[in-house]
Amino acid sequence: MMSSSGPKIRAERSVYLTVDGEQWLHMYRQMLRIRRFEEQVNELYVSAKMPGLAHLYIGQEAVAVGVCEALRRDDYITSTHRGHGHCLAKGASMDRMFAELLGKAPGYNRGKGGSMHIADPDTGNLGANAIVAGAVGIATGAAFSAKMRGTDQVVVCFFGEGALGQGVLYEVMNMASLWKLPVIYVCENNLYTEYTPYQEVLAGEILDRPRAFGIHAEAVDGQDVREVYFVAQRLIERARAGEGPAFLLCNTYRYYGHHVGDIDRSYYRSREEEEWWKSERDPIRLLGSWMLQERIADERILEAIDREVRAEVEAALAFALNAPYPDLDEVARHVYANEAQL
């Protein structure tokens, strides 16, 4: 099992350098795209331009990017209420994401879903989900189908550690193991389930749970995209080869509140703790400084990426702000498939 703690750094160095520098730069850009996109989402909320709320992924970017980088476009993911990062990492475009968050017609789901329900067949996104653990059945079912249909697709099921409270997760993990389904359960432990430290609502060791079903389980430093990518790739290829499901625990942290309106967090976590993660364990800075050190990139290249990403955000936002709302008769459409037959 890999870990990012001190002494192993030298051993890792050679491994990570087997990956093409361009690919690390791509992951850097993807993480930055999530960061800048969501900073803008927060801005929209603060300036009262966005209906409802959003749950920001900022701080956790290395998980979505490291895992999705190891997936093919035709592989599937399921996501959560904190889903913008997963959707972007799997290939969603910012303009249609913003449009969806604003309830506009060209949004991924015609404005009908909103922040918590982005779904996109073109990128293998089976859907974000506002029910905690709501998508674990869907993910496992897609893996069942991939196996039955004889494709070599793999499914990644993203969820927070809060989902470990839901019984349905244990039902589907049991079947995934019994039937050797190509599904990776990616648990992002960001230390909090809403406003409660996870230890107060979780007994025992997380990894013991999948292991009880005979599911291969590992933990990684979720702030280190290199480690996430390497381990995810191994687990995904293992599943693709028919060796069955795996469970990947990613230890991570969300920088903002549970949702954009969760401003006063002092009753459940300290400012010092937040600052420590931001200054010591920021996934974007960790990758950036490693790339500088290894001369994969120089400051100029990283700055150029940031400029390009900011321009992408700006253009995407303008697209969404200028887009129309859906036609009112959309409200009654898509309740049933083949609606003409009703």
């Binding site: 209906p51 409802g52 709320l53 309830g103 506009k104 015609r110 404005g111 009908k112 879903g113 909103g114 922040s115 918590m116 329900h117 989900n129 506002a130 029910i131 905690v132 653990a133 709501g134 809060g162 989902a163 470990l164 409270g165 839901q166 019984g167 389930t193 809403e194 406003y195 409660t196 107060e200 609502v201 979780l202 009753y267 459940y268 709302y325 859906p326 009112l328 959309e330 409200v331 009654a332 309740v335």
Partner: protein, 340 residues
């Protein structure tokens, strides 16, 4: 909804105005002081006081033994509440969004609702499940549903939907003292709504509808937040010379059939408002009760206005179409009264 409403059950002497959230909190605190076996269980109910801050301060008074944060395990903790209720305690379960009741359905429908009957009356399940309801808050399809009709369909469950702080407090206290499983629905958009609530203790019996406004031309039966839509419509209708009576059943189970039927007999015209889906919903049941009891007094078929039969969309202009509005009620009323 900003002006506090006076109605028949309010003490005429009180001038104390509090929010719906505070009324609910007071009911819980008073019952917990009165009965040491009452406790609260749910997600983020303690320090956080729920995302709506309704329970703020209770853990400070009653401690974490009686205001218990759970994992995200609706089926599990609802089941635990059923067992605790059967063996001497009085749990108040908190389901943050009513949509999550679906995760606890077996515990509620197959267990809590049936234990008393199946045991030939030997076991009792004195528990309350508080759940939120309601749309128009831009929370999309999985956080906006109003599922009260599901539970009203199941014998063994009682169903309460308050429309004012006064009713919420009195009915919640009654719910906690009831020996049956009670579903208590709170509209998310009403927590900050203010109204008169006396300082002295009171309870409100189940099965007693409240006439929120008297009128002779038309009866509007409305549930929960729809009572305020009805009142607003009635005020506009009054300007047209149409006097609408607004009847709030307050509890769907047990249902005060008598008051509904009497009002329908008096006015001869009825509109029913609900925020649950229209098809197979609460409006259908109330319409049949009225039709059966007042058929020969009715001048026209009963009109039902429920939520549209679509999942609640996120996009604001679409979402706003899905629930009854005062404008739509006024239009329906004018048609009923031959004013178009």
């Amino acid at each position: 909804m900003s002006t506090p409403m006076k109605h028949s059950y309010e003490s005429s002497t009180t001038d104390r105005v509090i929010s719906m959230a505070q009324a609910i909190r007071e009911a819980l605190a008073e019952e917990m002081r009165r009965d040491p076996w009452v406790f609260i269980m749910g997600e983020d109910v303690a320090e956080a006081g729920t995302p709506f801050k309704v329970l703020k301060g209770l853990v400070e008074e009653f401690g974490p033994q009686r205001v218990i944060d759970t994992p995200i395990s609706e089926a599990g903790f609802t089941g635990i509440a059923v067992g605790a209720a059967m063996t001497g305690m009085r749990p108040v379960v908190d389901i943050m969004f009513g949509d999550f009741l679906t995760l606890a359905m077996d515990q509620i429908v197959n267990q809590a609702a049936k234990v008393h009957y199946m045991s030939g009356g030997k076991w009792k399940v004195p528990m309350v499940i508080r759940a939120t309801m309601g749309a128009t808050l831009r929370k999309a399809a999985q956080h906006s549903q109003s599922l009260h009709a599901w539970f009203a369909h199941i014998p063994g469950l009682k169903v309460v939907i308050p429309s004012t702080p006064y009713d919420a407090k009195g009915l919640l206290k009654t719910a906690i003292r009831d020996d049956n499983p009670v579903l208590f629905f709170e509209h998310k958009a009403m927590y900050s709504m203010r109204g008169y609530v006396p300082a002295e203790e009171y309870t409100i019996p189940f099965g007693v509808a409240d006439i929120k406004r008297e009128g002779r031309d038309l009866t509007i039966v409305a549930i929960g937040r729809m009572v305020h839509v009805a009142i607003e419509a009635a005020q506009r209708l009054a300007e047209l010379g149409i006097e609408a009576e607004v009847v709030d059943p307050r509890t769907l189970v047990p249902l005060d059939r008598k008051t509904l039927i009497e009002s329908a007999r008096k006015t001869g015209r009825v509109i029913i408002l609900d925020e649950g889906h229209q098809s197979y919903g609460a409006t259908a049941e109330l319409a049949s009760v009225i039709t059966e009891g007042a058929f020969y007094y009715l001048d026209a078929p009963v009109i039902r206005l429920g939520a549209m039969d679509v999942p609640v969309p996120f996009s604001p202009p679409l979402e706003d179409l899905t629930v009854p509005t005062p404008e739509r009620v006024v239009e329906a009323a004018k048609t009923l009264c031959g004013r178009v």
